[in-house]
Amino acid sequence: MAVLLIAALPVTLYSQIYYSCDFEDVTENSQWVLNTGARGPLCESKWFIGEAGNYTLGGENGLFVSSDSVNAVYKSTQAMYVVAYRELTLPVGTYNLDFDWRGMGNGSSAQIVVAWVPATQATNSNNAGSLAAWANNYKVGNSLYASKIWQPGRATINVTAATQQGKLVFVWSSARDVAKPPSGCVDNITITASMNCGAVANLTYNTASAMLSWSGSADYYQVRDYTPYDSSLVVYDSVATTSHRVQLNSEGTHYFYVRGVCNNGTSFTPWVSTTTFVWIPGRRCIEYMDLGISTSNAGRCYTGDFDTFIKQEFFGHPQQGTLEKVDLGPSSAESMHTLHTDLNEIDPTTTIDGGLSTVPDGEIASVRLGAYTGSGKSARVEYKYTVQAGMSDLLDLKYAVVMQSGGHSAELDPNGEGDMNPTFTLNILDGSGKKIDGCTQKYFVAGFGDHNAWHQEGDWFWCNWSTVTVSLRKYVGQTITIRLTSARCSYDTHPAYAYFTMGCRGGSLEGLACGDFATDHFTAPEGFTYRWYKEDNPSVTLDTARTFHIDPLDADIYMVECHDLTDPTCYYTLTANPNPRFPLAQVTYNVTSADCQNIVDFSNSSYVRVVNRSSGETMSEEEPIYDIFYHYGDGEEEWVSGSSNRHVYPVEGGTFECYAVASMNDGVCQDTIRYTITLPDLLHTGSQDTVHICEGDSVQILSGEWVKRDTVYTTYAANKYGCDAPYDHYVMVHPVSYDSTVVEMCEGGYVDFEGKRYTETGNYTVNLRTIHGCDSVLELKLTVIPRLEVTMADTIEVCADDSVIPVPYTILKGRVSEVHVLPDSLGLARGFQPDYPFEAEDYIMVPVPEHLHPGFYRMTITLGTPDCPSDPKSIVVKVKYSSAIIAQKNDIVALLNENYNGGYLFYGYQWFRNDLPMPGDTTSYVVVTDADQGAKYYCMLISDDGTVIETCPIWYTSARTDLENVSVLSVTPQVAQPGETVMLNAGGLIKVYDSLGRQVAEYKKTAAGNTVISAPNHAGLYLIVAGDKVARIIVR
């Protein structure tokens, strides 16, 4: 983004950003003039805008010098300077020029020069020549060099009337020297008016609390956490306070920068920085940085002298030395076992050829073994290491040795005498302390060996960083000791010290395809010489290159010998199997919540499955997969190479859906394993204590206040997870406790309450004291629910042609929620359904199946209750023959035969009149007379199955008299509600019968005129007989 302000006359500077450029805007980038002049393009190193120069969080571009247009590297074969500038117009005034830069170089041999040059001044590049004078004349700030890492730069621009229109110029100047990358890079340029803004000071980082704190008076602050090791940049903008918690999730030296921001974000204080070094245990096969004297340290430190370390061993009595660690810091010459973490640091005793960086590229720190004082002890460090297959079967020792030659010999004479130069040795010992085979031993003597490797400054010899690879493949599973010794000369004077790092890598082949892709070549590990041959024909060497090509469908197994460069007799052999290979992800994890961190350590045991191309059988499952993509489920994910990986989750914890992807061949083949991790909230597990008082009492809390109400007083302290968590001091006031228990139970049960048994409804109270000594009243509200008591008739009589079977019941006690009527097996066989459900409010009306055979049916009535269970009831439904099987003729009442009555056959008869048996009337008909009008008749029948059951009755209404002369009883209404008033056109004795022939009511009214009676209370069909008049009424 670019902001440009043009002012023609000197004006009052306002608080604003006059220019800003992060090289992300294409239009702004086009305003920059790069590699100016005719000679600019001829320079061996030129300015570019691209990724190599980016230092913007989320950005892609920055300004950088490059000799290959892509990387931040430069050539320095001759003096040259190349220019990049941006024309700007600024009002007269003083400005702060802020930018980020890096550039190694070596002082004048390679540097960045910043200048504000009048627009009229020529600023051409020169591909052969030293820095032009104009660059020094208009230079602002200091020359910038000797920084591998990005850092902020600030310069002051004083704009005069003559320089209002000017050029912001960046010049890369280099001389003929050793090129030390990175080349010059610039990003995030801002020009602001120089305004007051409280500077940041006293910037410190507390590793225990992960708190960055400072002093200042700005409106707010910007915080950067820059880790050069992995080029990670974390920016915290708008930090309102003078402290900020910065969780360190990556290794290496963290450079913290803080600046104040004022005037609505238009004024900035200079960046203030501090550093902290972080290394995360568990990421390395050998924790070479863990130095100490304890058995818990990975590297145990010793001191000794020539006799101890060299002579005694020569004579077969190897000595270990004195367990001692001498660490006075990396800047102390006397330190013998110390850690160097400054990526920009140059060893002070090395000056030529750019000097020796104390930390090699690609490492976060190195160990210096040995002091470089004039005389003193020698230093030793030993590491115990259990060789693991795969990732760790090749030990890479990066080392850079600095020794002062005393002109002694390289070794002792056969008698163990003689002077000897300082030495640096690497020994690998087995579990009993004996040196294992010679291929694992390395030996350096000052001034001896390959001279091309040494840089000599007087009698000081130093060699630059080199890597020696030792194969430990033969010792997989064994615990070995790696011993490094920097020994002074035989007089314990001329020092020898070395910087070293250690790492492991897999000694496996590259180029193996995976999945459905065919392998067409193998590439052996770097750092050896090679011999390729077929497994079944080892004597024939097929190739000696590092890469060996095969046919993609080749299924033969090949072997390659990797020979040590320093000792070709030392080698190990790898198997090259071109058959299909597939990744299998296997990752486990272990959670540790401590130091206010949720730490999860992942263990990777993923492997490659090799499948025979022809048979499909698994050939091998031994090759480990080290490259795992971890998706942590907290928004972070990363690729990690190794058998273990640690990730720090948010302190708030939670449930994280994670997965790990085992990848082969740079992700061509992958396998994913998913898992869910649940972590505690570390911040909100504060402790608490509670003081209990009774209502009316008071207590003094920590603040001195007397309280008599519920109070929480919070202090802060570290909880069990090491986090600052609130510690709540509760005061709980207990009122008179009143607890009421409501119990409902069924009649017949009991409740035990406070040691007493209760069986009846009522409220019962017990006075107690609480555990806090306060009054407590317990009340029991007991409701005894009566068991359901229901009355219903044992026998219900219906006619076979009735539509329903009413089953009236009366609830004496309890409640009914539902009713089920369950017919017996006879009923089921004759058409009843297995279950008739009814709601509590419903009348039980069981539908009568069509053509129901008269008989006795037993039905079980189950009454569901919401309260207490009740026993089912059993009733008998007596289904009589329909009265329709009786025909009335004048003077004859006869039963219809089987062809007319529905197929019933009868074998016995007994007629009843008005419920009295008629003696002698034992046939299928009776002859009646006029005197029998209104009489009720039914016949008891014996059916073919032996059932004895009567018909439903008829009322004889026929007579010799013409039917028209039979009086009709008028009833109003003919359909009435229970208890409703019914009007009749008759008087005298009035009887009411139900459908079963039972008399349900009798009235004696005056003989003449209309009469009123009440309709029966239950639903059903009723017959009203008044003298010789008959009528029917339905009650609903």
């Binding site: 025909a887 003729k889 004859i892 006869a894 039963l895 062809n899 009868f906 299928s924 008909y925 002859v927």
Partner: protein, 313 residues
């Protein structure tokens, strides 16, 4: 009929032979007698036949005859010839087996019903008075015995019959189980005795061959002209015609709708005919009578020689 002729022939031959033999023993003069006789015995139609399996059976239960005869006899030696006139009373009681007659009718509600008349203990008594003209020949056999044979022609003067029976009626409905009985308003009456008397058609002419055999009873009289004989006779009546076209029970006067006719009316309307006039018989009835006859003879021969020695009557 054919059987009657065979018996007549046989009797005549027997008498002729006896007479011829008697003639051999006595020489004779012709005597003229006037006789009157009284006879009585059992009569039986031997009816147990039935027109068909469905027809009720008809059986004689009792039969009796009473005969008074006045005749002229001529006798010469042993030969007897006579003719005369008879008054012949016959009583027969017959019984008909139980039977039922069913008619499809409609009852008072116009409902179809099988209406049944059920008869039991059905008894018919017949009283018949015949006038007969006998003609006969005979012979005295020896001193005591005699035999006669002949035939007579009878003509009924009076024939009465009386039927009594137990009758019940009932109705059977298609839709009911049992037959409805004892429902007077429907004409279903319980068993009761019904009777009916009337004349009936006895056979108009009856030829009855007869034979008699007995012994002479000596009678001491001053004139010596009276004689007696006592004999056993058998007659077999053969009706030449009979009227059997009548129904045993005639419902012509009975109302089909019981609603309009009660029991008494039924009783007075139903007509029972003599079984002899009905077609329940499969054949004409013939009646055999067997009995005793006492005959008084009075010699009316003019005296020529009153011979005191002739004691043949």
């Amino acid at each position: 009929m054919r059987r009657a002729l065979y018996i007549l022939l046989l009797t005549t031959c027997t008498v002729a032979t006896a007479t011829a033999q008697f003639h051999k023993t006595t020489d004779g003069r012709v005597n003229h007698f006037v006789t009157f006789s009284l006879a009585g015995g059992e009569a039986n139609y031997f009816t147990s036949s039935r027109a068909s399996d469905y027809a009720p059976s008809l059986k004689d239960k009792l039969g009796a005859d009473g005969i008074f005869m006045l005749s002229y006899e001529m006798r010469k030696n042993w030969f007897i010839f006579g003719f005369g006139a008879q008054a012949d009373y016959n009583y027969t009681r017959q019984q008909v087996g139980d039977f039922t007659e069913i008619f499809d009718r409609k009852d008072r509600e116009d409902e179809e019903v099988h209406y049944a008349y059920r008869f039991s203990d059905y008894t018919d008594e017949q009283h018949v008075l015949h006038v007969s003209v006998p003609l006969y020949v005979g012979a005295n056999i020896g001193y005591l015995l005699y035999v006669l044979a002949g035939a007579k022609v009878s003509i009924p003067l009076l024939s009465l019959h009386k039927t009594t029976t137990d009758l019940s009626t009932d109705g059977t409905y298609v839709r009911f189980i049992h037959t409805i009985e004892d429902a007077p308003s429907y004409g279903y009456y319980t068993v009761d005795e019904y009777s009916y008397s009337s004349s009936f058609d006895a056979p108009e002419i009856k030829i009855s061959p007869f034979a008699e055999f007995g012994f002479r009873i000596p009678v001491r009289s001053r004139s010596g002209r009276v004689g007696m004989r006592l004999g056993l006779y058998a007659e077999y009546g053969l009706p030449l015609s009979i009227n059997n076209k009548h129904l045993l029970v005639d419902y012509s006067f009975v109302d089909k709708n019981p609603f309009t006719q009660n029991k008494e009316q039924l009783r007075s309307s139903i007509v029972f005919n003599s079984p002899l006039n009905t077609d329940i018989l499969s054949k004409k009835l013939s009646q055999l009578s067997v009995g005793l006859r006492w005959t008084v003879l009075i010699n009316v021969t003019p005296p020529e020689h009153i011979c005191m020695c002739d004691r043949d009557f």
